[in-house]
């Protein structure tokens, strides 16, 4: 947090000087406009979150009868208790599943992307650019478009409705390979790799002990992107999974939401469940943004 304020002060100081020569008035106007746009955007993004937070604290009857953007009787903990006990706590199972799919998936995807990106950046071999371009092409194919073909493939293998049906497709990140390549090329000097080789380190050891450290900020970025992508991935689990105990939290909440006409009371659980399901994302982001930001700043300096 402090770092981000620091950068901001630096930047404003930086822009102030030329502004003095050019004309303060324009700069003030444009800054006000920019500020206004940002405030509107912030409200636009935060209002639904605020609504979610407020709605989660309400009792079922207050939910429809009171102002949707302000608190009524505080029942957050009752709601949480109702949520985690409903159907023997299946919601907690869903959270654990999401953590498994997103955590393990993002970790392995980051590893594979780093290895591939590093290899493409640092080794010369035939077909290197073709390989890279094909991978880059993968960025353009939306995951949703691949879900149905994947389902048919997994059906052939008899692996639908298993953990693997969601985990395996999550292990590839073409964007991650792209970022790793760019970052490895810029931040891992050939001299260091040479030095490591002269010191007797093998290629794998060089990669894990030297390259990954230098690439760390990029790896954190890839991990974050992939974590969020898997956590929010809804379509693939929808198509692959039938067993309630394998659902990730997104699919579980969606299923509940479609049952509202049968069991209207379930709506309150969907609301409180949605709130709880975004907390891990926020925590992950806050915990990792320090590495991420310093990485971006370093990258910029180079």
């Amino acid at each position: 947090m402090t770092e981000s304020t620091d950068t901001r002060t630096l930047r404003t100081q930086g822009t102030k000087k030329p502004a003095r020569d050019g004309g303060i008035r324009e700069s003030a106007v444009s800054r006000t406009v920019a500020m206004a746009v940002m405030i509107v955007a912030t409200l636009y993004f935060l209002t639904p979150l605020w609504w979610l937070l407020v709605a989660s604290t309400k009792t079922r009857s207050d939910f429809t009868t009171t102002n949707p953007l302000w608190f009524a009787d505080f029942a957050l903990f009752d709601n949480v208790a109702a949520l985690v006990t409903y159907r023997d706590g299946v919601f907690l199972q869903w959270l654990a599943n999401s953590a498994l799919y997103a955590g393990v998936g993002a970790l392995l995807a980051t590893l594979f992307a780093a290895m591939a990106g590093y290899a493409i950046a640092k080794y010369t071999f035939r077909g290197r650019e073709t390989l890279f371009n094909v991978i880059l092409g993968g960025v353009l194919v939306p995951a949703t478009a691949l879900a149905l073909p994947l389902f048919l493939l997994f059906s052939q293998a008899g692996a639908t409705n298993t953990i693997w049906a969601v985990l395996l497709p999550s292990l590839v990140s073409p964007f991650g390979v792209y970022l790793s390549r760019i970052y490895a090329a810029a931040s891992v000097p050939d001299e260091i790799i040479e030095a490591a080789r002269i010191d007797g380190a093998g290629e794998v050891r060089t990669f894990f002990t030297v390259a990954t450290r230098l690439m760390a900020p990029a790896l954190v970025t890839i991990f974050l992107f992939q974590f969020v992508a898997i956590w929010n991935n809804f379509f693939l689990p929808l198509i692959m999974l039938r067993d309630e105990s394998l659902f990730p939290v997104t699919l579980g909440l969606y299923v509940w939401n479609t049952q509202v006409s049968q069991i209207p009371d379930i709506r309150a659980l969907v609301v409180i469940g949605s709130l709880l399901s975004i907390i891990p994302l926020i925590v992950t982001f806050l915990a990792l943004q320090r590495f991420w930001q310093s990485g971006l700043a370093n990258g910029g300096l180079k």
Partner: protein, 442 residues
């Protein structure tokens, strides 16, 4: 990395081709050959996909009593929310569950895509007809000889929920005809309320109103399907509601939203013409109005008539390719006729059974506090018996619902009319049937 990418691209191309062929074969409507239906040797395990909350409880009763026929429950979102698409994917991949929940309005879709087993030859299935409310059986046989494609599970007979207290205080008689309903709407509007909300997105509710008026949207014979979204009865219903909308006599809140609930809770809306399961919707969405509601039969087009519509309801179908159709059929029949199973499903999912006997379950024999102690289920049982048995759904109802809903949401904001929306829906439905190679008469 590269190899998987290439392999995957190849697979995509191959499978897209496969999907196209699968669609193309969907048009052929093979006659329902009722072959044999013999029990399997040895113990079997059946898979059953249903989105009924808590259906596991009813299934557990079966599993205890039938150690050799174990049923595994799989779940997912409601049919149009993704489970139907999953069924079709699974049918294409050859790993469909043995049994699936399918709503009445989706049955023709599965039938024309050849996704259903004919279980008529299975023991006791044809004889079960008498146990079910008349109209439900024609929905699972499609009028074919020696054919049963599913067992009806639950229904949504329609009636009118109304605020007994407000009608009484205002001295307005509870309407029994649609003419009286409109007159009451005017009086209620003078009091600052609305008699009802016109739902722009519940096209199946509108279909229920057309159903009550004896209208027909679809019919089919050997030469193909006939689409008639703008028939005389439909036009009558559409123009009636268009009049109410034009004269600001009904509200037009998007249904199932907070503001819609709030409008009921704040006594702005006085009635809701809806299905039996709507009883819980009101109780949950308008808690402050507890005890003030009552239920009366739907208003009629002809004074003294007793026609009713239906909104919702589903079946348990045996999906094509099941290795154990005999056992699957036995389970489906048990699930939807056994008193304990029906009671369990009513408790966990509020279902209203499709059997005649189901209306006599103890749970339906009591007054309901939210409705001032009235035994509202008597009204619904009678409505269920008065539903026209000949209403036919089309094979592309999801598309029909979406297209007409687009037009309806325009109409409620003054952009076109309900009838124009139905006319557009008529054209797009014929186009959709043709695109799916389903024979259609124009």
């Amino acid at each position: 990395m590269a190899i998987t990418r290439f392999a995957r691209a190849g697979a995509v191309a191959a499978i897209s081709a496969l999907a196209l062929t699968a669609c193309a074969t969907g048009g052929t409507d093979a006659p329902g050959a009722s072959g044999d239906c013999a029990p399997s040797d040895g113990p079997v395990t059946l898979t059953f996909t249903s989105w009924l909350p808590g259906v596991e409880e009813a299934v557990a009763i079966w599993n205890d009593e039938n150690p050799d026929i174990q049923v595994e429950v799989q779940t997912g979102p409601n049919g149009n929310g993704g489970t139907y698409q999953n069924f079709f994917n699974q049918l294409a991949a050859g790993n469909a569950p043995d049994l699936g929940q399918i709503e009445f309005d989706a049955m023709p879709n599965f039938r024309v895509q050849d996704g259903l087993e004919n279980i008529a030859a299975c023991e006791g299935i044809l004889e079960a007809e008498d146990q079910f409310v008349g109209w439900t059986w024609s929905q699972v046989t499609f009028g074919e000889e020696d054919a049963v494609y599913a067992i009806p599970q639950d229904t949504g007979p329609m009636a009118m929920f109304y605020r007994a207290d407000l009608f009484e205080a205002a001295g307005i008689a509870v309407p029994t005809t649609w003419e009286e309903y409109e007159a009451a709407a005017v009086q209620i509007r003078e009091q600052g309320g609305y008699i009802n909300n016109f739902s722009q997105s519940d096209i199946n509710a509108f279909a229920g109103l057309v159903w009550q008026a004896d209208g027909q949207w679809f019919s089919n014979d050997a030469d193909g399907w006939t689409v008639d979204l703008t028939g005389a009865e439909t036009t009558q219903v559409a123009e009636y509601w268009q009049g109410l909308i034009d004269n600001d006599l009904v509200a037009v809140y998007p249904p199932w939203t907070d503001e819609w609930n709030a409008a009921y809770n704040s006594s702005e809306l006085w009635t809701w013409v809806s299905a039996v399961w709507g009883a819980n919707t009101i109780a949950s969405g308008a808690p402050d109005t507890a005890g003030n509601w009552a239920v009366a039969p739907m208003p009629q087009w002809e004074a003294g008539a007793n026609a009713a519509g239906n909104w919702g309801g589903s079946t348990t179908a045996v999906l094509k390719g099941s290795d154990h159709p005999y056992e699957a059929a036995q389970f489906a029949l048990w699930l939807n006729t056994d008193a304990d199973a029906l009671t369990a499903m009513n408790r966990t999912a509020n279902i209203y059974p499709a059997t005649i006997e189901g209306a006599n379950l103890p749970v339906f024999g009591e007054g309901v506090e939210f409705y001032g102690g009235q035994n509202i289920y008597e009204v619904f049982a009678e409505a269920g018996a008065n539903v026209n048995p000949d209403f036919t759904w089309g094979p592309t109802m999801t598309q029909v619902y979406n297209d007409v809903a687009d037009g309806f949401s325009g109409a409620v904001s003054g952009n076109g009319t309900l009838l124009e929306a139905l006319t557009a829906g008529q054209a797009s439905t014929i186009a959709a049937l043709k695109a799916a190679s389903i024979p259609v008469k124009e």
